[in-house]
């Protein structure tokens, strides 16, 4: 009798705690929507998203340059980080001898632990001058942001790709080798295709991290609200727009920043759903 009461109680307590975390999400979503939607309604969704001019003082709120900024920096991060990350995951899962693996894994975890402001600072003092001196332009640029973000997404890409490679049944590899494949052929034609969904999810989650990153990119992107013409031009992203102007924004300007948040929220939600959809599709097969 007592036991069943305790069982019921513990079930309820866990339920309540689980609900509270969902409730936090719901509250934040609601708050952003309430704060941000009015300005989207008054400016017009199309003009807000595709508007080229961002001049809060004159009531002009167009965030298209920032969308381009976010997308270009995120794609750049993917180009810089994904190939390295996947190769590193293959190395760790398939080639690295145990002692080396025991050094690499914690080192990569450490990479995830470095505060983003430190990445930004390092980028500003090292990557930006390097670009300015050797490639020209102000140095504060899409390229600088891509390099920094590319490094920052490495832990995500590596660890999730590695886990999905290691999660494959041992028999995949043995079956492939028993068919007379070489180790590399087995990796290329069996292991990678078999863990494709996990690796794609790793990339998408990495992209989610890149597009949401604020602090590090504020310091290296230059933050100019204009369409970039090359990867050496400065840009402003959706996140940095909020980060920079939040401190002094009021009224409609503040609402417009929340609206920027809504757009960001939708993009990240799309990315996460894509990751989920891809991982689920595999199980379906």
């Amino acid at each position: 009798m007592m036991k069943t009461f305790r069982e019921k109680l513990s079930g309820r307590v866990f339920f309540a705690l689980a609900v509270s975390s969902i409730a936090a999400l719901a509250l934040i979503t609601l708050f952003i929507l309430v704060k941000g939607l009015p300005v989207i309604r008054s400016v017009g969704l199309f003009k807000f998203i595709f508007g080229m001019r961002w001049a809060p003082g004159r009531g002009e709120f167009g965030i298209f340059p920032m969308i381009v900024g976010s997308v270009s920096v995120t794609l750049g991060a993917a180009l810089a980080g994904v190939p390295v990350g996947i190769c590193c995951a293959i190395f760790l899962a398939e080639f690295a001898p145990a002692p080396l693996r025991n050094i690499f894994r914690p080192a990569i975890q450490l990479l995830a632990g470095i505060p983003s402001v430190v990445y930004g600072f390092w980028g500003l003092l090292f990557v930006v001058p390097l670009i300015r001196d050797h490639l020209g332009g102000p140095g504060l640029s899409i390229l600088a942001g891509s390099v920094i973000l590319g490094i920052m997404i490495l832990p995500t890409v590596i660890s999730i790709s590695e886990v999905s490679l290691l999660a494959l049944p041992r028999q995949y590899k043995e079956g492939a080798l028993a068919l007379g494949m070489t180790h590399w052929q087995a990796i290329k034609s069996v292991l990678l295709p078999a863990s494709k969904s996990g690796i794609v999810a790793a990339v998408i989650l990495g992209l989610g991290r890149a597009i949401g990153e604020t602090m590090a990119v504020i310091m290296v992107l230059g933050n100019a609200v204009a369409l970039p013409h090359s990867i050496l031009d400065p840009v402003r992203t959706l996140t940095t727009n909020i980060g920079i102007e939040m401190g002094y924004a009021a009224g409609e300007h503040q609402q417009a920043l929340f609206a920027t948040g809504i757009v960001l929220f939708v993009i990240i939600m799309l990315l996460n759903s894509a990751a989920q959809f891809i991982t689920r599709e595999k199980k379906h097969k």
């Binding site: 049944p169 995949y172 079956g175 080798l177 028993a178 068919l179 007379g180 295709p193 078999a194």
Partner: protein, 251 residues
């Protein structure tokens, strides 16, 4: 006729633990040799030694000799990938690759450089027929292999290996976890295959050895206790431990 494969004084170790003790065994061509014995007798180890798949296991090493057509499989001129194409293996768990049925069978030949779609289709049909799977899948060869039942997946794995035209086939408890009908189909195809191939099977029970084997080898704790023609080992075992095992008194 010389044996297709021969094991000579094989000692096998995992780290410091010895798994096989001075095992010597002939594997005659065009026949089915069943290796029986309780779990931990070293049967899987023996099979994995024959195609050198044990080399994937860290800390595993062997002493002694394994011969294929009279030549050591560890010879300097032997490439391990070539060896594994000649000595094919099917595992206890069906391991189709996550691609279509056709692509599973075409994998090996494609790796060997076969590009002609027509030839690949011929190879697939022949291999699937030999594995008694053709009639069940001929109209849906391009659906994912993962949709097949467990028994069909295992026959697909046999077909995939046959497509490489090996000389020796190693089967490590190929019917564990399969229903009796699938098991019967696999056993039927084995009796057909032995005309063309040399087969070593670790059956999942003694009865299966009795049904399919030409010769039977009984191992216990890493040692060969007895080896002989199927009828003799089952009717007149020489060693009391063999008769204890096949009558189900232990193991």
């Amino acid at each position: 006729m010389p044996p297709k494969m021969a094991i000579r004084r094989l000692d096998f170790f995992y780290e410091k633990k010895q798994a096989l003790f001075g095992l010597s065994l002939d594997i005659p061509a065009n026949g089915i040799l069943a290796m029986i014995g309780p779990g931990g007798s070293g049967i899987t180890t023996t099979l994995r030694a024959l195609n050198r798949l044990y080399e994937l296991t860290p800390g595993a090493r062997m002493e002694g000799e394994i011969l294929l057509d009279g030549k050591s499989v560890h010879g300097a001129d032997v490439s391990v990938t070539q060896l594994r194409r000649r000595v094919g293996m099917v595992f206890d768990v069906p391991t189709p690759l996550p691609v279509s049925i056709f692509d599973n069978v075409a994998y090996g030949p494609r790796l060997q450089g076969q590009k002609s779609k027509k030839i690949l289709e011929e190879i697939a049909e022949r291999a699937l027929t030999q594995a008694t799977l053709w009639d069940e899948v001929k109209d849906r060869q391009h659906t994912p292999a993962m949709r097949l039942s467990g028994g069909q997946q295992q026959r697909l794995c046999i077909a995939r290996m046959l497509a490489l035209e090996p000389e020796v086939i190693l089967l490590d408890r190929p019917c564990s976890g399969l229903d009796p009908i699938s098991t019967a189909k696999i056993e039927d195809s084995l009796t057909l295959l032995k005309q063309q191939y040399t087969i070593v099977i670790a059956p999942h029970n003694v009865q299966q050895a009795g049904r399919v084997a030409d010769r039977v080898a009984f191992l216990l704790s890493g040692r060969l206790i007895e080896e002989g023609p199927n009828g003799e080992v089952f009717a007149n075992p020489r060693d009391p431990r063999t008769s204890d095992y096949i009558t189900g008194r232990f193991g």
